[in-house]
């Protein structure tokens, strides 16, 4: 055996400290986390009893919902198309707006650091406010209908897309950019030739992700009156029209699944 030649002896080991600084710190963290969850549970008014009594009610609805209503199918499909259109136009507008801004928000290519910080704060503000909230504001400004939804999606997605794009730009290996600049080329040419090929796939992937995400997000916008199938969803719920509700849910599922597959296919083709 390989250890054979090493003499057997008693090795000195550092003493075990049960209340070492690290252990005390971990214990405190665990206590804090548990306390946080206990408080949150109470604030969220989690009531498992109410869930138990509520579930049979939902089961009875499910029975009343079958078969799904087909009489208003054309209108519902139109609303679904509105939803997809809102997401498409909103996301595209956001991407076009994000193009110039993402360069400003990327540390390695921004023309000036005094522009970098305000741009980042602005984008964080847009990201922080959900499409839903923006849409709510725009309904008051431009009236009910899908256009408010488009604007809501565009603003929130503008912030999110620009930030992710800026991060993709910051992850480009600096050497290629430096080499292109060393030839004496202007900034625009360096970015167009050395930066774009490296970040383009990541940027397209981000844009597709947001498009998919926004189709799902815009199904909900109708609840605040911003158009699309969400409005029909809310109406059916309020009037307890269960077959109609089932139809709408099925339409949403199909729509989202098709978009997801389409996006995946596009992504693979662009590889």
């Amino acid at each position: 055996m390989a250890l054979g030649s090493t003499p057997v002896r008693e090795y000195a080991e550092p003493p075990t400290v049960w209340f070492s600084r690290a252990r005390v710190r971990i214990a405190l963290v665990v206590v804090a986390v548990v306390a946080f969850y206990v408080v949150s549970w109470h604030l969220a008014k989690v009531d498992l009893e109410r869930l138990a009594t509520g579930l049979p009610k939902m089961a009875s609805w499910a029975r009343k919902a079958w078969p799904p209503a087909t009489d208003e199918l054309p209108v519902l499909l139109l609303r679904a198309a509105e939803t997809v259109a809102m997401a498409a136009i909103g996301t595209t507008a956001a991407a076009l707006l994000a193009l110039p801004v993402c360069v400003l928000a990327a540390r390695n290519v921004t023309p000036s650091m005094t522009l970098y910080y305000p741009t980042r704060w602005f984008l964080n503000a847009l990201r922080g406010i959900d499409s839903f909230v923006f849409a709510l504001l725009f309904v008051a400004a431009v009236g009910l209908g899908p256009f408010a939804g488009v604007l809501g999606i565009a603003l929130h997605t503008w912030g999110s897309t620009a930030k992710l794009w800026a991060e993709a730009i910051e992850n480009v290996p600096p050497g290629a950019l430096e080499a292109a600049a060393a030839t004496g080329a202007s900034r625009v040419k360096v970015l167009a030739f050395a930066l774009v090929p490296d970040v383009a796939p990541a940027m397209v992937s981000v844009a597709l992700f947001w498009w998919e995400f926004n189709v799902r997000a815009s199904t909900v916008l109708g609840v605040v009156g911003a158009g699309g199938i969400g409005q029909e969803l809310k109406n059916s719920m309020d009037l307890l029209l269960f077959p109609r509700l089932l139809t709408i849910i099925l339409i949403i599922l199909v729509m989202v699944t098709v978009i997801d597959y389409g996006s995946e296919w596009l992504r693979r083709r662009l590889e």
């Binding site: 050497g175 030839t183 004496g184 040419k189 167009a192």
Partner: protein, 256 residues
Amino acid sequence: MPLVRVDAVTKTYPTGVRALARVSFSVEPGEFVVLLGPSGAGKTTLFRCLTGLTRPDSGAVEIHGRDICRLGGRDLRTTRREVAMIFQQFNLIRRLTATQNVLAGRLPLLPTWRVLARSFARDDRQLALRCLDTVGLLDKAYTRADQLSGGQQQRVAIARALAQEATVVLADEPVASLDPESAATVLDTLRSVAARGVAVIASLHQVGLATDYADRIIALRDGRLLEDAPRGAFDPQALEQIYERSDARVAEPAGG
């Protein structure tokens, strides 16, 4: 008039490290000069001064008689066109083909719309292929850069320097990341570039390669120029000693 003239260049970094101390030398067209020295000797700082990326505290760096330290904006870019840079990490645009990377050398001369569309005129494309042929990589013309070996990538970088039609080529540790065989090919290629009348300055830390390939060796240590001697007049053993002695100093263990 020499192509490159470095005159008493001194540079101390804000951290207090003195990177260069009154370094002076000049390079004529067609010379293959090797800057020899261990890491920290000031080689990279010197190169950065030669391309205008770093400004020395004092002294002048003249390319074709123009002091690059005093230039900015458009003038700086124009002078940079005369100097082609080859990096230890190759620095190619990984998703583009060898040909497109070679064309990057001509970026300042290409119309912006062609750069954006990545669609180039026949003359430019033919020039790029000719440059690749010169470095022996014509068969890899349409291969993506990240699918080439290290030695091949470095030769594409040299082809890029040729496409730039620069009169000065700076190579910062061009073979440090390569195996001995690829290193030999790359250094041979650089020698042939110098033979065409280009001033080539390469930094190396391997004494053997320097004595094999250089027309002239400039030895640097701790920012000071120790020796500037042409082939036939430098003593490989003396250089070996300079290098080893500084190495030994660095390697002194804490316990003594």
